[in-house]
């Protein structure tokens, strides 16, 4: 049992009094995950520089105190909040947000790990630049690296990994690893920063990053396209991409169930269809840095959709609506909240190869209809990236109660279908944490676990960092 009073006193001596929080009311915001996980912290410490992070880690290493690095704590798998032991120190990066340097010619930004995505983009706007990872939440850059966030515009820009040039990390014993590479081309053996990407902070605390940033688009064009089936969604994707790849920034598909929930709960959002929506509605977004004088994006989009309607595959298209990006994205962004208004939601974060999205969704719906008729599949997602949030609404009036046993069974069956049946993933973009640890354990090849064990032994031999476990079971 660690002595919180002594640790607090020691850390205050190292970092100053206001860097350390110990009162329950101060700690509560650091203890609960955004969607999953409720824990109890030994205390919280908020270093303001990489050197201070190093001091905290060296101290904890010496005393054997477990540490949970935490950014904005917006993760969705419970990987950034302490466990229930009351023994973990929360290392909050919220004050590690001083560095924010933009190099417009190199097209990079150097940031502290605790800088928020919104802060970064605000600073970049002045230069006509942006960090292109488009998310609903406002995480820290360090958290985005540890999670390798994706978002809605991955189709064009890739995930965090694709836009990360360099990183700085503090290891469990306080060692600072500086691989703050500012280079697009640097092929000098193992790319160490990849060890930090998507590994939930268990190999080191990400204290800094060099990010590649991109010019802000000058124009957008969006359409909603009614699709009679998942196959029609895919045929349209392929046809659009072939010609529009350079300016194709998002391709979302929304099931009729998800769309109807939005219309039901938001009077201000109008159903564009004359009657019921078709099986899927695709949201197509184009954007470009080219000015409208060189390229008329709405015209190009309308022309391409018209040409597709003339083909045999165009028979799967029921409707085409051209419209304003903000109106169409409003529909997309109100789905999660509308579903919560419908009942208990069981959320999934699945990907499969794009070519198998329709077949997978059909198989999942069939499985649910047969064995879980009391859930309604309200799927939507990033079909352009092969990602789907196969969210289920639990009709509590006509069903068994959603007990942990039945919820776990349902999760297991859907993820088994995705992973084993369709070469898919149980975590498309949320990462790995306590919430989905059991799927990591089940689906990760043993040699990969062994490599993780070797990395953990090297970088954090006392096993102090984080709660996610990527090595083999003990």
């Amino acid at each position: 049992m660690h002595d919180a009073v002594r640790a607090a006193a020691d850390l205050r001596a190292l970092l100053g009094a206001d860097a350390v929080l110990t009162e329950p009311e101060d700690l509560s915001k650091y203890e609960s995950g955004w969607r999953y996980g409720k824990g109890k912290a030994l205390l919280a410490v908020r270093p303001g520089t990489t050197a201070e992070v190093s001091k905290v880690m060296a101290y904890c290493h010496g005393r054997g105190i477990r540490v949970m690095p935490q950014g904005a704590n917006t993760g969705l798998v419970g990987a950034s909040n302490p466990d229930a032991s009351g023994e973990m120190l929360v290392l909050s990066l919220e004050r590690l947000n001083k560095r924010l340097e933009i190099d417009p010619i190199n097209r990079t930004a150097v940031v502290d790990g605790g800088v928020l995505l919104s802060e970064l983009n605000a600073a970049l706007t002045e230069h006509g630049l942006m960090f292109p990872i488009d998310l609903g939440a406002d995480p820290t850059i360090g958290g985005m690296i540890a999670t390798n966030t994706g978002g809605t515009r991955l189709l064009k820009y890739g995930d965090v990994r694709h836009n990360l040039q360099g990183a700085e990390a503090v290891l469990a014993d306080g060692t600072v690893v500086d691989v703050m590479n500012h280079l697009r081309k640097n092929n000098t053996g193992l790319d160490f920063k990849q060890v930090l990407v998507g590994t939930s902070g268990i190999y080191g605390v990400v204290t800094g990053a060099v990010l590649q940033v991109v010019p802000v688009p000058r124009q957008h064009a969006t359409a909603l396209v009614g699709c009679a089936s998942g196959d029609a969604v895919l045929a349209l994707l392929k046809a659009l991409e072939r010609e529009l790849a350079d300016v194709f920034t998002a391709y979302e598909a929304i099931s009729a169930n998800a769309l109807n929930a939005v219309f039901k709960h938001h009077d201000t959002i109008r159903n564009p269809y004359a009657a019921q929506p078709p099986a899927y509605t695709a949201l197509v977004e184009l954007s470009s840095t080219l000015p409208g004088t060189a390229l008329n994006l709405p015209e190009v989009l309308e022309e391409r959709l018209g040409a597709f309607l003339e083909t045999d595959e165009g028979e799967g298209i029921t409707d085409v609506f051209m419209g304003k990006p903000e109106d169409f994205w409003a529909i997309r962004h109100h789905i999660s909240e509308s579903l919560r208004n419908e009942g208990k939601v069981l959320a999934f974060d699945i990907s499969v190869p794009r070519s198998r999205m329709a077949a997978f969704t059909d198989a999942a719906v069939a499985l649910l209809a047969q064995d879980y008729p009391f859930v309604r599949c309200c799927d939507f997602g990033h079909w352009g990236d092969g990602g789907t949030h196969l969210n289920l609404v639990w009709n509590e009036a006509e069903s068994p109660r959603p007990t942990p046993v039945i919820v776990e069974e349902l999760q297991s069956r859907i993820y088994e279908l995705a992973v084993r049946g369709f070469d898919g993933s149980y975590s498309a973009e949320h990462g790995v944490g306590p919430h989905n640890q059991r799927f990591y354990d089940a689906y990760t090849p043993e040699p990969v676990k062994a490599v993780n064990r070797a990395l953990k032994d090297q970088l954090d031999p006392k096993g102090l960092l984080g709660t996610t476990r990527l090595g083999p079971l003990a």
Copy 2:
């Protein structure tokens, strides 16, 4: 001392007679690197399937035979040919080229590690697709992964790492690791394949890959732009990128010395300038999947260049020539060979942050003028990516002979300037091998070497694979 006769007999029993080569005349092509390195092989073995690679590795592991995995042996750092000991078995992947499956909707290709880049692109063309890593050589896909090749269109498409979804590898003991991920989004902890990317085959033999592929552009536009200085090259880059990012595929800069060498040695290549070329000539390439009816690329490029000429920074531009891509790229592609016709060439593969390219090149030229006046700097490179081949032509008539001592000293001073003086790299895109091992040893942070040591101990504990050493010095 290993017994080549016994090993050959054993491997023939495992794989069939024609899989094993032992005669000196058959072995010679496997023994010399494309640019550096001449070794001697114990024998060469050419498995045709991943299972056969596994058998070979298990056999060598049991006998303690060192192995050099080899693709097309087109690498430029000597990392794919055996050392001089005569004790290394060459594991050629030239027959591991059966799998080549294209999924047009997922926009991916599944390939065996021994498939050539040219073979892949020939198959992709039928689908209007391509693998966008644009190189002078024709390597295997496995070799491209082990080297993380970049090429001339990295500005738009990224390097191999950016276009790799999954991989299959055989470890030193014969274990097959299958992470043949077909997903754009799959955030399930450590991305194991990153351990294989750019690590010269020392952690495993890359036997398969899932590659992300892209639509072939429908149109191109190119210009040659005379720039009075390196700063003018950078100012133009920034201005073009802001508006043209979506269609900006290459930005090369060629020094007057390099350009003059091409004109001197190739009568068919015309000097477009009225007199001597300016300090740099930028080759700008735009390309797009959009048809000419939607976007007139040559017009857009000409308009943008014209607009830049009207600005204050436009004063650095001396000439603008619009022309055919094949004509302008012919100039670029004849540089290396023209320089070799000028005398002994000392080649460099450097990158620095793009914003520091001009300052770095000026500093390098000043250093050379002062201490090595007998070399002529004929630099050219991918300024859009911060890469430069700072190639030096040795004037043997008026200089000391290029002895190993003076060559090594010169290399050390130029790379020191790049790495320490300008946050650059001693290997922008060629990778690490015996040719540049000493720079890896000098410039790699110790914690990164320690992680490499841990990976090697885990994946190849007997140290049998390759000659590149990424761990700490013994």
